[in-house]
Amino acid sequence: MGKLIAARLWQLVFVMFLLSLLTFTLMKLAPGDPVMLILDTEELAVTQADEEALRKELGFDQPLITQYASWLFQLMKLDMGESYIKGKPVLDELIQRLPATIQLAVGGMLVMVLIAAPLGILAAKYPGRWPDHVSRLFALIGASIPSFWLGLLLIYVFAYQWKWLPTMGKGGLSSFILPSLTLGFAMAAVYSRLLRTGLLESLSQEYIRAARARGIAEWRIMTKHALRAALLPVLTVFGMSMGNLLAGQVVIETLFSWPGLGGMIVEAIFQRDYPIVQGYVLFTGFFVVVVNLLVDLTYSLLDPRIRFGKGGV
């Protein structure tokens, strides 16, 4: 296991390097010039000279390789640079937004688990019967309703009609409920159905019959014996969605005025705020690699054959 982690750390460096190169290229390929966006022209006069000066200040007059190299060099010193638009260090910006993102992600995951686990298990327990159909209906609504719509509906019902919860903002516990519901509900769809297939698959195995023959309670069979094998794909999708949980929540963040990373990154992309985008991508890259390492380690916890297998993970 130690070896695996060590190898992963090496690969991590590699992934980060590749990512830095990739984002740099993508950002440069993307049409658009941050200079004009920084100068925010609408209500203020800007001259050609101002433009040139700024271009020079940002180092855009240098060849691309030089720009990349100097950025990379800075990065080695753990300095991700400063936001063009906001002028603040990238790291500060990321750290400032991170808590809200994580809180929302945790809330969403909680809701997701609370919805997906019972729905998936019930559906697998009664395949083709009404709990399955109800679960499917939920899942399908979750999968086909865009989150902006769901969010609006929730606000409409809970904040406007019933006035139970605030429409927006990040404050007390009550302000977490609607964003978490919106996020969790949409995610639950995939998980509940994935769980159902996984469970059906493992429930048809011989060892489940054996456990029944030993007189083990049905819920225990479900949770201890069947669930584990079913968790492999579920966990994988979960690991995959971590990147998305960080940045993919723009819609929800916009609806609920949630000060998370998603809104920041989209804004930064639109404004061609390269340092922020690059800092963010590296940050997520790190995060994703670590999460997937954890997921891979969990595989071997879930299935000892993987642990003792020759291939390793």
Binding site: E42, A45, V46, K86, F148, W164, T167, M168
Partner: protein, 498 residues
């Protein structure tokens, strides 16, 4: 049962102890309250400027009680006596000078706008020398970036803390600022123009029109900026709410790519101009919350045009196209020299009505056999600048941000101007604008501006379509408050709640 349960987080109730509170929601979020890089400290009534605009968009004294031009480049401003910053210190010319120094250093945009060469402070007299003759300096001082703040306070707090809670002279001070979420303001009791009526104001940011509207409907918020036009009718049904729809200083228009021979032809531009029914845009797209346009400046402005709004006329448009040398083929599509005529409309999502206008134009064009294709781009300015393949763009500008047309004429019609992506260079217009730039007299400036508008309309340089309104939803418990066309002063000391 549950419905009546009071929700502690819902502001807007007069709470025990007689605290008066209000909540406002605005449509842009901000991560900083840096007074010299953000409009918000001024909008929130935390800071103020030396001069301001009144309801009629005329420049009026504010922190400066009066000012005069000593010569072409020298101005003196008399700072109002008895004004204190929110930390209790007195505002004098030295403090204002320090504030401008900070502003010029922090914001290149401000530096460019003010063109300050040197400043001198003595008592309440602030003397400003500009680098070049600058007749519109007072008008430029309306700029929110020219807010006056207590620089000493910044030294004590540190810049970072100061940019989250700047110390100005306004009726409200920042109690707590949650970047990108909300700002909590409390009354500053020592306000020079009389203590504010409200004790606290919460300003939340939200970029989704539907959510903002619902926050108003649920009575969670008292004032909500930028209600979607589609929601106006619903909100008006609620007797507790009202909608303030005021003309803004913005204009939506069609931009023609006059770098292309096709659109260099005045007749083609005029033909396209004749396709659109401005009243239909006002009524069917903006649902009445706009005024049909007859030029870049609203006719309510002193320098706005008095011309009539152009009426659609497709017969005339067909005639113009034919005159320009185009014929329709058997299928009714336009051709020139055997080449089919097809145009590309550029639009963007930043203002939801623009893509609709583009679709309307497309449909109207299709009716006379003119093929137009729509392309939505993400960054319109960039696109227009870097690409040559487009023909028409839907566009929008704020044309008189500080009560003067000069800024817009210069940046949108002069070569190299920052709002002139197509490098328009109309000889006649350049002449008028150059003359305008050398004129300080207000009356004279109005005349010249109108003259410029005449040229623009005659040559159909752009097709100005509508002046959209600013739509603000207000709870009737809010008293003495109306949104201003200038869109600068959201909060004042007079506003009150029932």
């Amino acid at each position: 049962g549950q419905q009546e349960a009071p929700n502690p987080s819902i502001a807007g109730e007069v709470e025990k102890g007689g605290q008066k509170k209000a909540k406002m929601i605005i449509h842009f979020k901000t991560g900083s309250l840096d007074p010299h890089n953000s409009f918000y400290p001024l909008k929130f009534g935390v800071t103020e400027t030396l001069v301001r605009m009144d309801e009629n968009l005329e420049v009026k004294p504010w922190l400066a009680s009066k000012w005069e031009a000593i010569d072409e480049r020298t101005w003196t401003f008399t700072i109002r006596d008895g004004v204190t910053f929110q930390d209790g210190t007195k505002l004098d010319a030295a403090a204002a000078k320090a504030s401008f120094e900070r502003g010029v250093a922090a914001s290149p945009a401000l530096a460019r706008a003010l063109k300050i060469a040197s400043m001198k402070a003595s008592g309440q007299e602030l003397t400003i020398v500009t680098t070049e003759p600058h007749p519109s300096l007072p008008s430029e001082l309306v700029n929110p970036f020219a807010s006056v703040v207590q620089v000493e306070a910044e030294k004590q707090m540190g810049t970072e803390a100061f940019n989250l809670a700047p110390v100005g002279t306004g009726p409200f001070k920042v109690k707590q600022f949650q970047p990108n979420v909300k700002a909590d303001l409390v009354r500053y009791d020592g306000y020079w123009d009389g203590k504010a009526k409200l004790d606290e104001i919460e300003i939340a940011f939200n970029e989704d029109g539907n959510v903002r509207a619902m926050a108003l409907q649920s009575k969670e918020a008292d004032i909500v900026y930028q209600i979607p036009a589609e929601m106006v009718s619903v909100i008006q049904q609620d007797p507790e709410l009202r909608v303030e729809s005021v003309p803004s200083l913005r204009v939506h228009f069609l931009l023609y790519n006059q770098q292309k021979p096709l659109l260099q032809d005045n007749r083609v531009r005029r033909a396209i101009d004749l396709l659109l029914d401005r009243n239909s845009i006002v009524n069917d797209i903006l649902l009445g919350n706009a005024t049909a346009a007859n030029g870049p400046f609203h006719h309510r402005l002193p320098f706005g045009s008095e011309d009539e709004v152009r009426k659609p006329n497709s017969a005339e448009a067909i005639k113009l196209l034919e005159e320009a040398g185009y014929q329709r083929n058997a299928e009714g599509k336009w051709m020139k020299d055997g080449e089919p005529l097809s145009m590309q409309i550029i639009t963007y999502k930043g203002r939801p009505e623009l893509p609709l206008i583009a679709q309307l134009l497309q449909s109207e064009a299709a009716k006379i056999g003119l093929v137009m294709e729509i392309k939505t781009v993400e960054n319109v300015d960039q696109y227009l600048r870097d690409h040559q393949d487009w023909d028409v763009a839907t566009y929008s500008n704020s044309t008189s941000p500080r009560g003067d047309g000069g800024f817009y004429l210069n940046s949108a019609f002069m070569p190299g101007g920052s709002l002139n992506p197509i490098n328009l260079a109309n000889e006649n217009l350049i002449q008028v604008v150059t003359q305008l730039n050398a004129t300080a007299d207000i009356q004279q400036r109005v005349k010249l501006t109108q003259q410029a508008v005449d040229v623009i309309n005659r040559e159909v340089l752009h097709s100005f379509l509508v002046y959209p309104n600013m739509i603000v939803g207000v709870n009737n418990r809010i008293l003495n408050w109306k949104p201003g066309a200038e869109d600068y002063y959201y909060i004042n000391n007079k506003m009150d709640v029932k």
